[in-house]
């Protein structure tokens, strides 16, 4: 049981962060607005959570311009994908153990 708890990652301990990672696991990348719509988050809320994930290097940020509009792309890093998988496995085990 202790082992499982160890694999529950604090960095994912929020609905929005889990959501961001879920989307980035199955998509090559996602931009800010796509994430915002999918997760139903506000700008500020999403920005703070992406920053947190960026800080632990679970996601990578690419900023570019499309025409004159700034566009921010988010990409899951290999580390992020690994950690996310571990986290999900731990969640599943926790549920099964109950």
């Amino acid at each position: 049981m202790k082992n499982i708890i160890l694999n529950i990652n604090k960095a994912f301990d929020h609905r929005i962060r889990l959501g961001i990672m879920s989307v980035l696991m199955v998509n090559e990348y996602a931009d800010f607005n796509t994430l915002k719509e999918l997760l139903g988050a506000t700008d500020g809320n999403l920005a703070s959570h992406t920053k947190a994930l960026e800080k632990v290097e679970f996601i990578r940020v690419e900023k570019q311009f499309i025409g004159r509009k700034p566009n921010t792309k988010y990409i899951a890093t290999d580390l992020g994908k690994q950690e996310f998988k571990k986290h999900i496995d731990a969640l599943e085990k926790l549920i099964k153990n109950k």
Partner: protein, 202 residues
């Protein structure tokens, strides 16, 4: 967190993963209708050719133009119906009809299809008619297979079916027309109906 919360997390993760990477509002009904259009078109083309005095097609002449016109009309009607019904269904599902996902879906579908279409025109110009049906089926199947990763899984099997039919058709070029009828007519109706029962009915 309780295990119920974890369960909720997991189900939300699953929904987000499929919602962000798969367009689920493809209409099964539009598949059925496309199959019916194809059958009507094929029936008309069959009638045209069998009344033209020859039992095969040549590139020059009125019959050929009429057959091409029929093909175009069938294509346009199918695309129109698909767009109309899919938009309607997407609205109902509150899914966006034009976003990064549907753009990816369309590009992955159209690129192989267009390459195939251009290739068919090129070999028709070189007066090699025999493989037209096979190539249409084959490239359409590849296009479906390519697009299927962004949409409902059934599309993948429709793609495989068309590819197999296309290859068989290449082995029996004399039966090109009939393979075409099976692939574009009956298979659309069968898969469309299956999808309709699976996803559309509620």
């Amino acid at each position: 967190m309780s295990s119920e919360d974890y369960l909720k997390d997991i189900s939300e993760i699953k929904t987000l993963m499929s919602k962000s990477s798969r367009f689920i509002s493809l209409s099964g009904l539009s598949g059925i209708l496309a199959g019916i259009y194809a059958l009507i078109g094929a029936g008309y083309a069959y009638w045209l050719v069998s009344n033209s005095g020859r039992d095969y097609l040549i590139l020059e002449g009125k019959t050929f133009k009429l057959v091409i016109l029929t093909l175009l009309i069938v294509g346009l009607f199918s695309i129109g119906t698909a767009i109309f019904l899919t938009t309607k269904k997407a609205k109902k599902n509150e899914e966006k009809i034009w976003d990064a996902l549907t753009k990816r879906l369309l590009t992955s579908f159209i690129v192989p299809l267009l390459a195939g279409g251009i290739y068919i025109i090129i070999i028709l110009k070189q007066q090699r008619y025999g493989q037209t049906g096979a190539l249409m089926l084959l490239f359409y199947g590849l296009a479906l297979l390519n697009a299927s990763k962004y949409t409902l899984g059934d599309i993948k099997y429709l793609g495989y079916t068309q590819i197999v039919l296309g290859l068989l058709c290449a082995v029996f070029p004399g039966y090109g027309f009939w393979f075409w009828v099976v692939g574009f007519g009956f298979m659309h109706i069968i898969y469309g109906a299956a999808m309709y029962y699976k996803y559309d009915r509620n």
